[in-house]
């Protein structure tokens, strides 16, 4: 019998090239953030100079602080509401407007951000809301809760329902069964959802630009306005710090999903 070889040379080459393509640019950015030279492309030896420069830059620090607060607040609200949405979709029976509900949850995953941003801004203007921390937080919550809902829903879908049934057969009220059986089982997916929401919020430029007000720029907005003027080594340093923060978040999230996979199937689709 002739066997199709499982891993051809072509497979290996495309994998290696693909991963190099994904990682080299980020690696180069990180290395050059430690460059002593002002010219981004000339190597002048290792130095932490641009990190000091960042910590002296009040506007950048303020923007970072704003971004972190928005990310924590919006990720937390999004995780609460997104988890509720996931439970409703995977455990609720058919209810009126269910198609519209799931439609509204899945559409923002791919909706161009210029549309979401513009429409939210027009709402805030119509409501006469003062634009700043809360408008950006609400906007980010609206986007990221959809990602949380998908991650948690896919975990709920792969869960063995006989556990919930057993709890209820043994006399648990539905709410009790949910809190003491289902919730611990989906907890890793909820944690992963929070992390994803956090990084998405930290990253967003377009929606934040539309929904923020004067004087409360987020970090991506500051970075963007600097990048438009050209490459600056200080930006490399800031980007490296953001990457480091996200790396910590990823490690925590993967620990959470390891916990989840040891209890069943792996959770996150993204």
């Amino acid at each position: 019998m002739r066997k199709v070889s499982r891993l051809s040379r072509f497979n290996v080459a495309s994998l290696a090239l693909g991963l190099a393509f994904l990682y080299l640019p980020i690696l180069i950015l990180v290395i050059y953030s430690f460059n002593a030279s002002r010219l981004v492309t000339v190597w002048g030896g290792w130095s932490l100079r641009w990190y000091y420069e960042f910590f002296d830059d009040r506007a950048m620090i303020e923007a970072s602080w704003m971004s972190l607060r928005v990310a924590v607040a919006s990720a937390t609200i999004a995780t609460l509401i997104g988890t509720l949405a996931a439970v409703a979709l995977s455990r609720g029976e058919r209810f009126r407007g269910r198609t519209l509900f799931s439609g509204m949850l899945y559409a923002p995953l791919v909706m161009p951000e210029v549309i979401t941003g513009l429409s939210l801004l027009l709402l805030f203007v119509a409501l006469n809301a003062e634009r700043g921390f809360w408008t950006v937080t609400i906007a980010h919550t609206t986007l990221t809760m959809c990602f949380v809902a998908v991650v948690v829903q896919s975990r709920l879908g792969s869960l063995d329902r006989s556990l919930e049934e057993a709890a209820m057969d043994l006399g648990c009220a539905p709410a009790r069964a949910f809190l003491s059986v289902t919730l611990p089982l989906i907890a890793p997916a909820i944690v992963a959802g929070w992390m994803l929401a956090f990084t998405l919020s930290l990253d967003d430029l377009v929606i934040a630009s539309f929904t923020t007000g004067p004087g409360s720029a987020t970090l991506p907005i500051r970075i963007y306005s600097e990048v438009r003027l050209g490459v600056k080594p200080e930006i490399n340093a800031i980007c490296t710090l953001v990457i480091a923060l996200i790396a910590v978040v990823i490690v925590l999230a993967s620990l959470a999903s390891k916990l989840s996979s040891s209890r069943g199937e792996s959770a996150a689709p993204l």
Binding site: G18, I115, S119, A149, P174
Partner: protein, 303 residues
């Protein structure tokens, strides 16, 4: 006890908060976009003349409906600038999606053929850049592609070119940026279908004498079509409305619709035209959006 029905009633209550939130912050805002797209531009703050004022009573609303204006939409259709922007957005999205499929497929295929243990590692490696900031990844490419950037210096050192090539502000740079940013979105759904595929099917085709390219083209590829569909939609829809990548990497002589919208809104302060542009963009994307939702629903609910 019926398994499907557990929690049914309380779970329905769980829908209330997210439902209200999404109606208020996702659905209702589109009404405002539509309303303002039908308004007149004004030099004021906010920069538009409201078409109707709900506090003014029924007759005023009727009068306002009579005064609705399609001028902004007429402008979008008659002005070449906008027509070209839409055409360019679609062309860029189609080209970039094709490139992504061409580059992403071999990578996903390679992943699916790794031993099981390595598959998990490869998957994490593909997902990690997705978590890294979008803006930072574009900025990383500006570092590499600029006039005295790494790419030009390597090319010069290898004597492949005699003077630095202009990379930034070209379509090439933009395509590199788009492919780089969206690659995980293409690879993951492709990998998901390819990994589930029964290897015996490919082996059977090979046993029956099919050469490798035929095995791929007649067996593997058709079976992976659901993944291809998901990946294509996941990339195509957001790329059509993309703003950051063309703004930072492409030249400024031809704009995509996301850039035009941004320009009308932030620079020209013409909110009605920006809103009309958003409505047209939404209409263009409606069919792929609905298709994507159906795929997503089927994937999540028929587990």
């Amino acid at each position: 006890m019926s398994g499907r029905r557990i929690f049914a009633r309380p779970a329905r209550f769980a829908a209330i908060a997210p439902y209200v939130w999404m109606v208020l912050f996702f659905l209702v805002p589109f009404g405002f976009v539509l309303k303002i797209s039908l308004s007149q531009t004004a030099i004021a703050q906010p920069p538009y003349e409201p078409v109707f004022d709900l506090t003014a009573g029924w007759t005023a609303i009727q009068a306002a409906f009579a005064a609705l204006s399609l001028d902004n939409f007429k402008l979008l259709v008659s002005d070449d600038l906008y027509v070209f922007a839409y055409l360019r957005s679609l062309t860029v999205a189609v080209t970039a999606t094709a490139l992504l499929l061409l580059i992403g497929y071999p990578i996903a295929y390679g992943m699916a053929r790794l031993p099981k243990r390595w598959q998990a590692v490869a998957m994490v490696l593909v997902i990690v850049p997705f978590w890294t900031s979008f803006l930072i990844r574009i900025y990383a490419w500006i570092n590499i592609l600029q006039h005295d950037g790494l790419l030009n210096r390597i090319l010069l050192a290898l004597h492949l070119v005699s003077r630095p090539v202009v990379w930034l502000s070209t379509d090439t740079a933009m395509y590199i940026g788009i492919v780089y940013s969206y690659l995980p979105f293409m690879i993951l759904p492709l990998y998901a279908t390819l990994a589930k595929m029964e290897p015996a099917l490919e082996e059977a085709a090979a046993d029956l004498g099919a050469p490798p390219w035929q095995v791929f083209w007649l067996v593997t590829f058709p079976l992976s079509l659901p993944g291809v569909g998901a990946g294509v939609l996941l990339c195509f829809i957001p790329i059509v409305g993309e703003f950051v990548i063309p703004d930072l990497l492409a030249g400024s002589n031809s704009l995509m619709i996301g850039q035009t919208l941004w320009l009308e809104f932030f620079t020209n302060k013409d909110w009605p035209v920006a809103s009309a542009a958003a409505i047209v963009l939404l209409v263009v994307l409606l069919a792929p959006l609905l298709l994507y939702e159906r795929l997503q629903r089927r994937q999540l609910e028929e587990q």
